[in-house]
């Protein structure tokens, strides 16, 4: 029971891998199956163009997890590095970097990502770029706060007096001790990214038709909610199960690793 979050997450990753390896024909149109309800050979029914919903869901989770992976790798690397530099050097460097993060934090939620995705133009790469531009701040703030106190620890001072280089101190002596809170932060951030990706594609700013994404499917599903409620329900419940699993995993990691907010 306790492990259900990992099971759900693993199932979605497996589904994404399956969609990547086998061509499930997510874009195949069947005109006689438009908005068909779930039935024998079409487990989740079909959408407004008669495309099967299940393969499109799997193709959508593949996009979603790919975006999450790329954005997390980029923003964690950038954010953690900036945070370490800021916390290690302090002074002017720290003040400037924190001022910059303050400006980014002045834009609530995914507002800035929406704005950047809008001006950059729709498409998967621009969506990833927009999310990268705006998601590094959390990592930078957390790392900086932790590094600031870490700087005064004896083992860091010892390494310093032994003449260890600054990158060595940062990445060998400080970073490993920050791993637990950063892992928890990364987990919550990933849940946020799943929602962010879906939000942007819901607004038509993500991956373009005919390719499937959860946000765009939800938008179409809402349009046909009255005649084909199974469409929006299938996508909505899928999205919810993934976000819930990642969030609960974050809570469990936080408790297990004893990280305080």
């Amino acid at each position: 029971m306790k492990r259900w979050s990992i099971v759900v997450l693993f199932l979605w990753i497996f589904a994404a891998a399956l969609a990547a390896l086998i061509d499930l024909k997510p874009n195949q149109i069947n005109l006689d199956l438009i908005l068909a309800m779930p039935q024998n050979h079409h487990w989740l029914g079909c959408d407004d163009l008669g495309r099967e919903i299940l393969p499109r869901l799997l193709s959508g989770v593949q996009v979603s997890l790919w975006v999450v992976l790329v954005v997390t790798l980029v923003t964690a690397t950038v954010g953690i590095s900036l945070g370490l530099i800021s916390g290690y050097y302090g002074g002017m460097v720290d003040r400037t970097l924190m001022q910059i993060t303050d400006v980014f934090l002045a834009f609530p939620g995914i507002l800035l990502a929406i704005a950047f995705a809008a001006v950059l133009g729709a498409g998967l790469n621009n969506l990833i770029l927009a999310l990268c531009l705006t998601s590094w701040v959390g990592y930078a703030r957390l790392t900086r706060a932790q590094a600031l106190s870490m700087r005064q620890r004896q083992h860091v001072m010892a390494a310093e007096s032994l003449g260890a280089s600054v990158p060595r101190i940062m990445f060998k002596h400080m970073l490993p001790l920050l791993a637990a809170p950063l892992l928890v932060e990364a987990t919550y951030s990933m849940a946020g990214l799943v929602i962010a990706e879906a939000s942007l594609s819901f607004l038509g700013l993500g991956i373009q038709a005919p390719n499937a994404s959860w946000g765009a499917m939800l938008r179409d599903g809402v349009r046909y909610m009255l005649v084909a409620p199974h469409y929006v329900l299938a996508v909505g419940l899928s999205l919810m199960s993934l976000v819930l699993a990642v969030n609960v995993l974050g809570d469990q990691l936080r408790d297990r690793l004893d990280v305080r907010n």
Partner: protein, 303 residues
């Protein structure tokens, strides 16, 4: 206090810089992108001049800041109206929606959090936790349609979308409010749990005060502080949430204006909407800090 006020100046400056960069990060010629290929070269020249694109970038930025300071946010490419007027038309609708959502969130989140804290690890607490976790995992573009499906399509006693009926506001407000209520429930629970272990609560109980007074007057007041901070920060996500929620429910506020401007490539309007939402958020956070010092004497006297 003064320091806090002065501290917002660089942030506002940075927000202006970032919204300025936004329009300049349009790939290619912004005029081309905004007007499309069918525009005449005269039209293009007019827009180029209106946007001040002929000047060097630093000068353009200072012109932008000077204009914003005078309350001039430019002209919409699509409707040719001053953007300030467009915003003024839409702002009341968003404010009404946000205010109602906030009230819903507080009237659900705080009581539920208190009950969860009082019945810790009992079924009421577990139910509150499961509810708030589930709702937290529901983005507005999923919760909104779900509420729409249940209350408007199946039960049929609320309008699906639009702003025609008085009851039109209920579903979008619930959509925004539930999300915030979920966060508020968890926050109130955690904050109450911490306070309930304090000595002054034991004293209040030992004095023989009725439990109602102990909880509502002594404990809740102390637990309120972190809740106010979270509320201030979360108002931002409420503002950001209006973008999607207003789009789902065809509610003519700033959020929908933003999405419409993106669809029409009316980027000066996009820029102005983003700027206004961000500045509102900065202002709300400043206000939260001020309220915080008012309700917590410790903060007031130590500074």
């Amino acid at each position: 206090m003064l320091k806090r006020l002065l501290g917002t100046i660089p942030v506002i400056f940075g927000v202006l810089l970032l919204t300025f960069v936004l329009v300049h990060s349009i790939p290619g010629d912004p005029v081309e992108v905004m007007l499309g290929e069918s525009a005449t070269s005269a039209d293009r020249e007019v827009l180029r001049q209106n946007l001040g694109l002929d000047e060097p970038l630093p000068i353009q930025f200072f012109q932008y800041v000077a204009k914003v300071a005078q309350g001039d946010l430019g002209v919409s490419i699509h409707s040719k109206k001053p953007i300030v007027d467009l915003l003024a038309e839409r702002l009341p609708a968003t404010m009404k929606l946000a205010a109602l959502a906030l009230m819903i969130a507080i009237s659900i989140g705080v009581p539920l959090g208190i009950v969860a804290a009082l019945k810790v690890d009992r079924w009421a607490d577990n139910l509150a936790t499961v509810l708030s976790l589930t709702v937290s995992a529901m983005p507005h573009f999923w919760l909104g349609p779900l509420l729409m499906m249940v209350f408007a399509l199946w039960l049929g006693f609320l309008p699906v979308s639009g702003m025609d009926a008085n009851t039109s506001i209920i579903l979008p407000a619930l959509t925004l409010g539930f999300g915030l209520a979920a966060i508020l429930t968890r926050m109130t629970r955690a904050s109450m749990l911490e306070v309930l272990h304090e000595d002054f609560i034991r004293t209040a109980r030992a004095k023989g005060l009725p439990e109602k007074i102990v909880i509502l007057k002594h404990a809740l007041r102390a637990a309120l502080l972190p809740i106010v901070t979270v509320l201030g920060l979360q108002l931002g996500s409420l503002l950001a949430g209006t973008v999607i929620t207003e789009t789902v429910f065809a509610w003519d506020g700033i959020g929908r204006l933003l999405v419409e401007s993106i669809e029409k490539r009316d980027y000066p309007v996009t820029q102005a909407c983003v700027l206004v939402i961000a500045l509102t958020y900065v202002f709300v956070n400043l206000l939260t800090d001020i309220i915080y010092t008012r309700i917590d004497p410790r903060v007031r006297f130590s500074s």
